[in-house]
């Protein structure tokens, strides 16, 4: 992918992300036997929120919400521009930092708890993503995203266990049940989002759409050069995590971290070591 393609894709990622979110709400509603909102509902929400009177606590907090959007956008560009996968992963951490600092900067208990749990989410899934980068390197021989996308190998066939692990941690990165402790609407009312409103909430809300693209692109990488398989994987994981979101209850943060550290990471490591031993 050239820089220009990546740039354009990053720009329109907002629209794609909005559609994915709209679709997700329909799919989820159908799973629950409801009709659900129209596909364009996220965009209607977008325009409604843009119209709202801006109420903020202080500018620093509001500004961090905007920065979260910009940071996530930049992280997505880093990923799509075909550079180093690890760097892209760490840029994602950087973008989360804004949400966290923003969440911490107000004296609202829910916001502070949410920001802390946001960090715990990171603690849970981050090692897995770093391991995936190493595993993709092992299979395709490169850390460059563009290289992985043109690889002749299909990482999925070599890394089935790792793929399962990443799939199961998808709810953690997108903050969906069972790993939605950071937002936990019934408990901490959206966590770091709670104190945002109007345009500034819009920024945070939109950043989450971009996170969708980010996460699903990561899934897409598991198909390597086989882009049709990649699309199928993305569609499958989309339905899978919606199903998971519907049928599971929220776990607490300890269970989340424990599940990632004691089940998913060992799963990934077993896969990794078997492949590496087989090859050496």
């Amino acid at each position: 992918m050239s820089y220009w393609e990546a740039f354009i894709l990053t720009l329109i990622s907002l629209v794609i992300g909005g559609f994915i979110y709209g679709l997700e709400r329909i799919v989820r509603a159908r799973m629950q036997g409801r009709v659900g909102p129209p596909l364009l509902q996220p965009f209607y929400d977008f325009f409604k929120l843009m119209d709202k009177r801006s109420i903020i606590i202080h500018s620093f907090h509001a500004f961090m919400g905007v920065m979260y959007l910009i940071g996530t956008w930049f992280a997505l560009f880093v990923l799509l521009s075909g550079g180093d996968l690890l760097i892209a992963i760490f840029f994602h951490v950087l973008s989360l930092a804004f949400l966290v600092v923003g969440g911490f900067s107000v004296r609202s208990p829910y916001s502070v708890i949410g920001a802390m749990r946001e960090l715990l989410h990171m603690v849970a899934y981050e090692p897995l993503y770093v391991l995936s980068a190493a595993a993709l390197y092992l299979v395709t021989g490169t850390f460059q995203v563009s290289g992985i996308l043109h690889s002749n190998h299909t990482p999925l066939f070599y890394l089935p266990l790792l793929f399962v692990a990443v799939l199961l941690s998808l709810p953690a990165i997108l903050k969906k049940s069972p790993f939605d402790t950071a937002e936990a609407h019934q408990e901490i009312i959206g966590g770091p989002e709670i104190e945002y409103s109007g345009k500034f909430y819009e920024a945070v809300y939109t950043a989450k759409w971009i996170e969708y693209i980010y996460a699903f692109f990561f899934i897409f990488l598991f198909a390597g050069g086989n882009h049709i398989l990649g699309a199928l994987l993305v569609i499958f994981s989309f339905f899978f995590f919606n199903l998971l979101d519907n049928v599971t209850a929220r776990v607490n943060f300890r269970q989340m971290v424990a599940f990632h550290w004691y089940i998913l990471i060992p799963l990934a490591v077993i896969n990794l070591m078997l492949i590496a031993l087989w090859r050496s």
Binding site: I56, H58, M67, I87, F91, F104, S108, L138, F143, I275
Partner: protein, 623 residues
């Protein structure tokens, strides 16, 4: 050139003597001038060494050898005396045991004509850190002690300056027996500095530092003994000739590596470093950052060509990686700012030794980058901790809440310091990135897979820790339209601003910095430079690239934006209090202390002990 090297040892001692000889409150300015002078002089001397034809080997006169032996005995007898005086069993017994081992070593030590001083690029690299970061800490200490006690300032600054000379000497000796002497001298320095306030806690912690470090001394002596027994080797350069030979006896190397682990405060020997926080803050700065503990990665780097790829290296990777993660975890439970920094030092020392034990050129590059940036950042953070303590009376996390309203500069500096230890694109991140990519080449080895997990997990845990602290500092009651920059004393600014500038500029120009300054050191340690190159700001590694626009982008996001945030004021918006879902709650928020982690502490310590013993027994080939 020999004279320049000698000057690097002697100048700090002369300055120390001068400072010591000028007691009293009235001569404070004069002492400050003398301390300030150490910075340009030492930097100039280091510059001369760096640009000379390295390595320099120097033979020593016979009287110097005799002097070292006499000094060794006096030092150990002093330790024994301290043990007896304060009725500390461990200190006295360990001192006695060292006396016994030392005598044994001296009896069987062969005459050798190998030069006793060996100044290569790695040594010059350490000189560089000592002469910049170390002297800045000394300068800072003059002001710090002015606010604490002018009467004892001369003594304190003199010890610090003297210690810089000791450190310079320790990294340039080739003779392992001399290295032992200097290793124990740094132990002495930490003992004297930690007990500086002479209260009960200080003394207790100082004695703990004394006995723990003596364990390291014993390990060196045992390493030396077995080195003589199996090979007749007494010098580092002799050990280096073993590199790449099959079936070598690892016992001496195992003991030397263990001494590095002890000096590097790796678990279970981490408590002495934690105890150092009772002393005045410059002590923590000098022990943690620039000097003392850096002997540990230095020693591993010295030996890395020999231990590379052996079982010892793999066990060291696992042990230090485990410490990297678990020290980070334990840091989460702390509520004392200096203790948090201390744990993160232990943690990052683990990472330095981990990468050093890998031994390939990329890993050594990562290790050296870590040493450099960690020295700068930790010195900065400890200085800021001292400033917060002295000027804002903030020692605990609870006290630093909403510090942003009172001290914007300090908060910005601390934030930069914290962020630079975890986040893209700072130097420490780049090192970690290179290390992970290097370890990815050896995934069929469990130790390397482990190292990736450790690096990834430890990294995020430290991120969690730092953002927890940053979050507490930046919490605000509401909008503030006008803010006043706090007035910091000139000396504090002089000693901290250069470090901040280095962290930022060094991270932006990381490619050029690594290529031009760190890679020659790698070439000296490994034998060949790391295959990296710089294209403008872009850092090109064998498998990947860190683009210049990524570095700049991250900096714009991370650095300019939060500072800009002070000036951003959204107009046309309404200000409200926190919504908190309409609940009427007290807006007074505590901090997370992660008490749940304390329950795993015994487990962590047991594992650390087990790994430590495994490293010694299996890695050192004692089976």
């Amino acid at each position: 050139m020999e004279k320049v090297v000698y000057a690097l040892f002697l100048v700090p001692w002369i300055l120390a003597a001068a400072v010591f000889a000028l007691p009293g409150a009235s001569l404070h300015r004069l002492r400050q001038v003398l301390t300030f002078a150490s910075l340009p002089v030492l930097v100039w001397l280091t510059y001369l060494v760096w640009n000379s034809h390295l390595p320099i080997t120097m033979n020593s006169p016979h009287w110097l050898k005799v002097l070292f032996v006499v000094y060794d005995y006096l030092l150990l007898l002093y330790f024994l005396y301290q043990g007896v005086k304060f009725k500390n069993f461990l200190v006295s017994v360990l001192a006695l045991f060292q006396l016994f081992l030392l005598t044994w070593v001296l009896l069987i030590m062969p005459e050798s004509s190998v030069p006793d001083f060996y100044v290569d690029r790695l040594t010059a690299f350490m000189f560089l850190i000592v002469s910049t970061v170390g002297t800045l800490i000394c300068i800072y200490a003059t002001k710090y002690m002015e606010q604490e006690s002018l009467e004892r300032e001369n003594r304190f600054v003199a010890i610090l300056l003297w210690f810089l000379g000791v450190m310079n000497l320790a990294v340039s000796v080739n003779n392992v027996e001399w290295f032992f002497a200097l290793f124990e001298t740094t132990t002495l320095a930490s003992y004297v500095l930690i007990r500086f306030r002479w209260d009960e806690v200080s003394l207790k912690n100082a004695l703990r530092a004394l006995w723990m470090n003596q364990v390291g001394g014993i390990a060196i002596l045992l390493g030396l003994l077995f080195g003589i027994k199996y090979y007749g080797f007494t010098h580092f350069t002799q050990f280096l000739t073993l590199a790449g030979k099959p079936g070598i006896v690892m016992i001496p190397l195992g003991f030397l590596a263990v001494s590095a682990l002890v000096k590097g405060a790796q678990m279970p020997f981490h408590r002495w470093l934690l105890g150092a926080m009772v002393a005045p803050t410059p002590v923590s700065a000098i022990l943690h950052s620039a000097t003392m503990v850096k002997i540990a990665p230095y020693l591993i780097l010295r030996l890395s060509p020999v231990i590379k790829g052996t079982l010892l290296a793999k066990l060291l990777i696992v042990t230090t990686g485990f410490v990297f993660v678990s020290a980070g975890l334990l840091a989460l439970t702390q509520d004392n700012f200096k203790k948090i920094l201390a744990y993160s030092t232990i943690s990052l020392l683990g990472l330095m030794m981990l990468t050093a034990s890998m031994g390939s050129s990329m890993a050594v590059l990562a290790s050296l980058t870590l040493i450099l940036f960690h020295a700068v950042v930790k010195a900065l953070l400890f200085m800021e901790a001292g400033i917060m303590e002295k000027l804002f009376k903030a020692k605990y996390i609870e006290d630093i809440r909403r510090l942003i309203e009172r001290a914007p500069i300090t908060v910005t500096f601390v934030s930069i310091g914290f962020m630079s230890m975890t986040i893209v694109p700072y130097g420490i991140f780049v090192a970690k990135w290179m290390a992970i990519e290097e370890a990815s080449n050896f995934l069929s080895h469990g130790a390397y897979v482990g190292s990736i997990i450790f690096m990834a997990t430890g990294g995020v845990i430290l991120a969690l820790l730092y953002f927890k602290v940053i979050g507490i500092m930046t919490r605000k009651r509401g909008e503030f339209y006008r803010f006043n920059l706090e007035k910091l004393p000139f000396v504090y600014l002089v000693s901290t601003v250069p470090l901040v500038v280095f962290v930022i500029v060094g991270s932006i120009f990381i490619a050029a910095l690594l290529q031009a300054s760190v890679n020659p050191v790698v070439a000296a340690v490994v034998g060949s430079p790391a295959p990296i190159s710089a294209k403008g700001l872009t850092l090109v590694t064998p498998v990947s690239e860190l683009y210049g626009w990524q570095i700049i982008g991250a900096f714009v996001l991370l650095l300019i934006v939060p500072i800009l945030a002070y000036f951003v004021h959204f107009t046309g918006t309404d200000r409200v209090y926190e919504y908190t879902c309409g609940e009427n709650v007290k807006l007074n928020i505590g901090t997370y202390d992660f008490f749940c982690i304390q329950s795993v502490e015994p487990f962590v310590e047991t594992t650390a002990v087990a790994l430590f013993i495994l490293t010694l027994i299996l890695g050192g080939g004692l089976v």
